[in-house]
Symmetry: C2
Subunit: 376 residues, 2 copies
């Protein structure tokens, strides 16, 4: 696996590149639809490929470990075979989900013990165990096991947690390099920068992560409730330290505006449940602003869901139809809205890439941010 950095925007720190994997190339900047439990919710794999043009999807180690379980995934020949997706996959480490369990988890030096949200059964995620699990899941890109700190977080906790994440990274790194891929294609381990919203911690963490000879690096612990200014400040700082020749993945971010702003700071990869989760609640993103499709004002608006969209679903179905599907609580409403939002996110990063290559990203980004702040 290797990353080609092809273009740098003259006015911002935005970059365009290609990440080559054994399941195909990923053109960056890229957005990765979240396929929590071996499915991008309400979206058929064919739609992911054809309508949405997803290049890589994400799976959640925590969810996949519980269901279907690593034994089933291993018998299937890995997640790609299990969910019939032959393009690249990235799995997170489970750190974020375990952190979300709040009172149902306990963190020690050894790892994190937690109670399943499904049946309350007790489990331990250790750095070594999570590497083994991700070997069995078989994603192309796998993530180090980290502690994702909440926001707000005291300096003392953030510092202690960051050091724990660094010690866990060392164990992940060692175990990863002492084990082989199970399915014959390469897997790359991305380490994760933590440090909450404290500049000195973020700097220290980024320097630690940069010292590893990884294929790519990730920024964690943001988009957890902090002001956007803090997200941007931390991202900018970390990007200035992480090696420029390696892809940078900002985990769990974010709104379309967050994504554009962070592309401008040098981020190459994003994932977020927002496009699919919002879609299931009838909230749509377009290049002209956001739409609450459940609003009665759309009931006789027979214009396309998004006339500017690149994908057939958003251009051929109308707002009135989609509004009707939500009013009637029809599953197809969630399907069409999910396709629309994901296709928009993929268009957004693809167009950002075009603008970077054309050297016009900065002005385009400012205009897009202005548009997307509108509520239609």
């Amino acid at each position: 696996m290797h990353f080609e950095l092809n273009h740098k925007d003259p006015a911002t720190k935005a970059r365009a590149g290609v990440l080559h994997t054994d399941h195909g190339a990923i053109q960056t900047p890229i957005f990765m639809p979240v396929g929590t439990v071996a499915t991008v919710k309400a979206v058929h794999q064919e739609e992911l490929k054809k309508d949405i043009q997803a290049q890589i999807i994400l799976g959640n180690t925590y969810h996949l470990y519980l269901r279907p379980g690593t034994d089933i995934l291993e018998k299937a020949g890995g997640l790609h075979k299990f969910n019939n997706w032959d393009r690249p996959i990235l799995t997170d480490s489970g750190g974020f989900q375990v952190f979300s369990l709040a009172h149902r988890r306990k963190i020690t030096e050894e790892g994190a013990t937690f109670a399943s949200h499904i049946d309350g059964s007790k489990h331990l995620f250790s750095p070594e165990g999570v590497m083994d699990i991700q070997r069995k899941i078989g994603a192309d890109i796998i993530m180090a096991f980290d502690e994702c700190t909440p926001y707000p977080c005291t300096y003392k906790y953030a510092k202690r947690s960051m050091h724990l994440t660094h010690r866990w990274l060392k164990r992940c790194w060692t175990h990863f390099h002492n084990t082989d891929p199970i399915y014959g294609y390469e897997q790359a381990l991305f380490p994760i920068v933590q440090g909450s919203t404290y500049k000195d911690l973020r700097k220290q963490s980024a320097e630690t992560i940069a010292s590893y000879d990884s294929v790519g690096n990730a920024i964690g612990g943001l988009s957890v409730g902090e002001p956007h200014e803090d997200m941007y400040e931390m991202t900018d700082l970390v990007c200035s330290i992480l090696p420029s020749e390696k892809p940078r993945y900002l985990m769990g971010v974010g709104t379309p505006i967050n994504i554009l702003e962070c592309i401008a700071l040098g981020v190459d990869m994003f994932d977020c449940v927002m496009p699919t989760r919002n879609a299931r609640h009838g909230l749509l993103f377009t290049s002209q602003g956001t739409i609450n499709i459940k609003n009665a004002k759309w009931k006789d608006d027979f214009s396309p869901i998004d006339a500017d969209a690149p994908n057939p679903t958003s251009r051929t179905h109308t707002k009135a139809y989609l509004r009707h599907l939500f009013a009637a609580k029809e599953i197809l409403g969630q399907q069409l809205a999910s396709i629309h939002n994901l296709a928009f996110y993929l268009w957004l990063v693809g167009e950002a890439r075009n603008q970077i290559i054309a050297g016009t990203f900065g002005t385009w980004k400012d205009q897009m941010v202005k548009n997307m702040n509108k509520r239609l």
Copy 2:
């Protein structure tokens, strides 16, 4: 609109034909997926076309009248434009749904008054009103307003109801011919045979319906709880009376076996919610028998959902994957299962057609019925 009867099976009463409409030709025998409220539940229109190869879909007048309402449908330019479906559509008359409301409806000579299942609001469906509504919905084939009798039903009630249906038909027919299509393409009105499970009533009703110069004819009031033997006996009797040069539509039928048996009796068109409803509960139909995909026995069965299926979804996704989606209550499970069952129903009627043309329908049908009785 006209029907070409091309082939008759030598051993049974099965027929193969083509029904030509302004939205394209329908090869019979045919199954029509039910798109209750302007959507075939959980199925994207592109999947209906490509994966399922649906030739015609059904809409429910009762549901469409309540939501989105005929004013919206008229503004949209009809149901085809509203739900982005350019192939033929058939709408039922609302009679069956109103009948299902039980204590929330009252039937008089004028029509049926009922309380909406959504907000309890009061409405009247009259023969003339239902013709107007179906003109506005704009389906290619529209149905006469009838009373669908329950099962069991006394002879006295069935007889009185049948006569009411016949009087309503006369009013429908007159009003239909005194009005024009709104959207520039032809609509055909199919009358409906009633008479419960009483042979003399069915005979009388079929003779009445046959006396109309309609493009096609329908058989109603079956698949409402009566034994299959009664369904077949009534269908056989009615088919022997309805004109052979016109398509025969058996409303709301049924299981794959019901469909094959009724094709053998001379029925050309079918609709039923069973493939989609069962799919949403994890019950799959295949040519080898039925599958309850929620059963734990499938958890590590990595064979295709249906290796013999003609459509990509059923061949490329595995039983283990689909079982996992149901276990995790993921929407995609309902989507894939719905696609599978509908693709199977469309394959079944398409293959029946091939066998009729080849003159081998009878033996093929007997073998299929034997297979499909199995539980896998």
